[in-house]
Symmetry: C2
Subunit: 334 residues, 2 copies
Amino acid sequence: MLPDVENETAVRATADVFNSTVASWAIAAAWELGALDELNEKGSLNIDDFAARNNLHTPSTTGMFAAMNSVNVVERDGQAVVVGANFAEVFRTKSFFHWLVRGCSELFTQMPSVLRNENRIGRYYRRDPKAISFACRDINAKCFDPAFWTGMENLDYSFSVVADLGCGSGERLIQLAERYPGTKGIGLDNAGPSLETAASDVAAAGLTDRITFGELDVRSMAPRQEFDEVDLLTCFMMGHDFWPRESCVATLRRLRELFPNARRMLLGDKTRTVGVPDGEQEIFTLGFEVAHAMMNVYIPTLEEWEGVFGDGGWKCVRKTTVQGLASSVVFELE
Amino acid sequence: MLPDVENETAVRATADVFNSTVASWAIAAAWELGALDELNEKGSLNIDDFAARNNLHTPSTTGMFAAMNSVNVVERDGQAVVVGANFAEVFRTKSFFHWLVRGCSELFTQMPSVLRNENRIGRYYRRDPKAISFACRDINAKCFDPAFWTGMENLDYSFSVVADLGCGSGERLIQLAERYPGTKGIGLDNAGPSLETAASDVAAAGLTDRITFGELDVRSMAPRQEFDEVDLLTCFMMGHDFWPRESCVATLRRLRELFPNARRMLLGDKTRTVGVPDGEQEIFTLGFEVAHAMMNVYIPTLEEWEGVFGDGGWKCVRKTTVQGLASSVVFELE
């Protein structure tokens, strides 16, 4: 098994792919454990000190920083760590790493089983819904929020009750309630564990009288009397679940029936990239598209989205491109 | 969240770390699903055809090849795939990727929890023992076997009964039985699921009368009468579990008591690298060392190994360096 000495480039590149994988897990962990925030704030830390302050196992913590050093997220000299050449970009994109290796790890690990047609029945894959809503809260904040608040400013009426479809951690509803006094919010999601987090965050914010949650599947939910009051819909990072096209048309029409007084819907999502070579995909895209293929969810292109609203009974009045996340957009529908 | 245009290198490097992670899962899956072997043999394949022949979900299978294309393991043009610049090296090292993302995925995914001292009690982590023995069989075949067979040729006596400590899939015992007619083998391992595979492989090879297995922990096992017949010990990729030093001395001494007629032990393992910067670690090392830190297993250096045999009651008569795996060695002890 002697490596071909003429192939040193491939040997190094392959080791880098391996080390990058260990590093992705380290990035997600370093974020959760507060190391990325501390490095972002102070620029350096000492591993022994960081481990002691946070009651962490020192050899493992050293390994976490070694993995990040292997791909220049940090520079490590023994136990001394400073930010590396890729730190700023990794800090910006940490939630994508977290989504991949904490939220979707089991899905990707089971790839050999998930690809076999005979296994693709029932609940044939698992992800970690709490981890996904943790990551998506940051993805929303970093990527979708600017375009979302633009969409809110563009509203030509004052809303009273907003329903957030696929509300995840409830963060959007909390922010809306705080920014728009007197309004109410309804969060709908089929991920029970996320709603537990959401409910406790709402309680902590003192908003239990204004924000309520329902655990249900937006695509198949029954009418509720409280939906009659809803005059604004928001839906972020879940619209792709409405597809394929025929189902999406049906769901968009159904939303009009379920929420007869909704005057506008802000729908933000990542769309399928078109014409980008695999090796030039920006961060997140490759993982997002492969994961959804495995989950049997079709990701529509921007063009496909734009062609579905009319048949679904909505009119797109404005479209804002999301900065920092490839092929992502917020539609303002009415 | 607009990326700094002056930082394009970091943006690309960070996306590559992300894509590499998806690719590692794809490499492990492609190996299990037969795609790597087919590409190694034929140099090309068509994704639709490969999926149809193997009854795989085509969009997901396309995603698997797209992920490998993103790091030049293959080149993909639509559904046409040919081997890429890194294919040969990835094919050589596929078992390391498999060990990492199939065998140890849950351990790495749980890094934030595993690093916290308060969680490090009882069975605080999980790995996939079947996946690990699947990977280790190939790691043994590719890396350790040449040095192992050299060690066998160096034996100055004809052995009758071999005990393989940490036998995993039982592959080594099957090979020994086939190469040395009339000999017997005893496989010892604490991973029940691996032993199930091992027992069925032994049955398939028609060797049930010559090879038996025991599910037990080599470090704490009680004497057995059958051990008296053992005149050769082999132990690959598990010697590090004997450490720290004090425990290793005790285990080495205990092995002499448990196997009083063992004349030689062939012990092969990967040792801790010394003085290699994190970013220059060869494949496997970073994952191996971080994983064992998390599992609270000390990986000794080559020097530490060489300094323990005397106190353990063994004499190292020969040492063979393993090619293609950093800091790995086979000791011939008597």
